[in-house]
Assembly symmetry: C2
Homo-oligomer: 337 residues x 2
């Protein structure tokens, strides 16, 4: 039923090799025959079969993307960066949600490899030994997006999470606060969890402010957890006067908890978030935050992968993108200061 390259060849009165040449933009074809072929293609409505092409050429122009959850603002933005660059270089992406479940991640990696993707982008909180083993069976390049492995065996794209946390905490400290709380993500996450906690402590130490465990709460990056954590903090004998939340969603939860308690941000309590997802400029007061270049994290990862797939020389395969302190209205220090 479907028209093949043979049908086109017959229709145009040439060999299939010639048809293949014109389809693949091979310059070694006489203009007149090229036209004959093009006409035949048009007439028959020929559509090249990419699967057959993939089998013969061993290239699928498709890359696999393992992502925790596409419905989250952060990942959705990263995914957009990935897809834009992929599209730019004529690749398509197979998108898979992992929910950060290790077994599912491993299964997806395997499925993607079976599908002969030309490369793989992996995002996830932790790269375990099992992950490394799975990566090891791949014969195509892999880039770790917003994560990395402890040995730096695979190329990766990240921001400096610890330094970002230092910056956020220091800003609060510089405003004069001495009771600065941290609402972090799970400390068991070696990439995005623990380093921010480390940065918080380092900043405290650098300023000579004693660390106090009671000012640390662990959330899950979601709004609710931020709000609940802040309620607890507010119930302390000596509540914090500033809060650093490891995600914008939690930071917004913090702001609302503060407001619900009849206090004001930033007059009574300063709040700074992390990520700079679009919601941070859709709340009152506008949220001050550590901006991660989410789109770029995706875009740079994909660009790096294209180079790797193309066997190009790549200077440094471990990219650290710059984060940025975005001062809006939830901290006393605001833009321009």
């Amino acid at each position: 039923m479907p028209v093949t390259i043979y049908d086109v060849a017959r229709e145009a009165g040439v060999s299939m090799a010639t048809v293949s040449r014109v389809v693949n933009q091979n310059p070694n074809v006489k203009p007149t025959t090229r036209k004959k072929v093009l006409d035949a293609i048009e007439r028959l409505g020929y559509r090249p079969n990419a699967v057959a092409r993939g089998l013969a050429s061993k290239k699928t122009t498709t890359v696999g993307v393992v992502i925790p959850d596409i419905s989250g603002s952060f990942f959705a933005e990263v995914a957009r960066g990935i897809e834009d660059i992929a599209n730019m270089y004529n690749y398509n992406i197979i998108l898979c949600n992992s929910d950060e479940q290790k077994e599912k991640e491993l299964r997806l990696i395997n499925t993607l490899l079976e599908k002969q993707v030309d490369g793989l982008l992996f995002m996830g909180n932790e790269v375990t030994e099992d992950h490394k083993e799975a990566f090891g069976t791949a014969s195509v390049p892999i880039v770790l997006t917003a994560t990395y492995d402890d040995e730096n065996r695979w190329p990766s794209v990240n921001i400096d999470n610890k330094q970002a946390a230092v910056d956020a905490t220091t800003l609060l400290l510089d405003e004069g606060h001495r009771h600065v709380a941290l609402i972090t993500g799970p400390l068991t996450h070696p990439v995005n969890g623990f380093p921010r906690y480390q940065g918080y402590r380092e900043a405290l130490e650098a300023k000579g402010v004693p660390f106090d465990e009671k000012y640390v709460r662990v959330g899950d990056y979601r709004y609710q957890s931020g709000m609940e954590a802040m309620r607890e903090l507010l119930a302390l004998d000596e509540p914090p006067t500033a809060v650093f939340a490891a995600s914008d969603e939690m930071a917004v939860g913090v702001i609302h908890a503060v407001q619900d308690a009849g206090k004001r941000v930033p007059e009574d309590i300063s709040v700074i978030g992390f990520d700079n997802i679009n919601i941070s400029s859709m709340v009152r007061p506008l949220l001050s935050t550590i901006a991660q270049p989410m789109y770029d994290i995706g875009a740079v990862s994909m660009r790096l992968l294209t180079k790797l797939m193309n066997k190009e020389e790549v200077e440094d395969p471990h990219v650290i993108l710059q984060h940025e302190l975005v001062l809006r209205q939830s901290t006393k220090t605001q833009a321009g200061e």
Copy 2:
């Protein structure tokens, strides 16, 4: 380099046909030889080549998804529904952003078809004649997600947008408001734009409230446009006392414009949104809205597609999912009333 089915066959001392059978769970294999094969697979680390399989079987267990912009909350949620069900039925998805650009949409549809996807999910504001022509060249099933064609030639999954707008407007009218404004999306969008405008007018008419053009503003569904539209509305001689925004983002913009003007929601002005994206429960006051079952729209679309791909009988290929009025705090009418 990569190990093929032949290598496994040799290693196990059987023919490749037998290996194929055990890999594909064909029961006609003696248990002992099955074990021999399984061992050989394990020993060699054999990974079936899905591309070769796809060429031979004419099935790729991959579906194409054309979506306007994965970084938007609405679409990200729909995409999640799609991917979950796809995963459940052992399909993978190739995700493509179209930015609602017609040429890009047509190109993507073609690319996806070249890649021999087993089915296609299309989302976009409008299904033009060119789209229909492109769909017509497909030999695999296509489902229109959150959109439809004017002839209902293709299966689709939607909500009743007009009725949803009637419900939202009527709620506001029932609160006693007589100056109800509408901030809609582009009226040129036949699926999600115009019908909501129609519903607004119908509700007005049903309650005998005269339609007044000055209370209608066109936005682009984004926060900024909602905020700006509200500023204009506020500048009217007789500002509206209630606003129906065709998206939650715009509704939040409306709330902030109202607050910035020193007025209160809902005491001075009632606001209702559309979609029920997660941000609607992350603002103060909590946003009342028309909830669209975003995840289900994606999930049901994908489920429908699996049936179609499987050539199963499907009762009604034009699914209308229920929307829901979610009353929170931005309207006077609140939960329980």
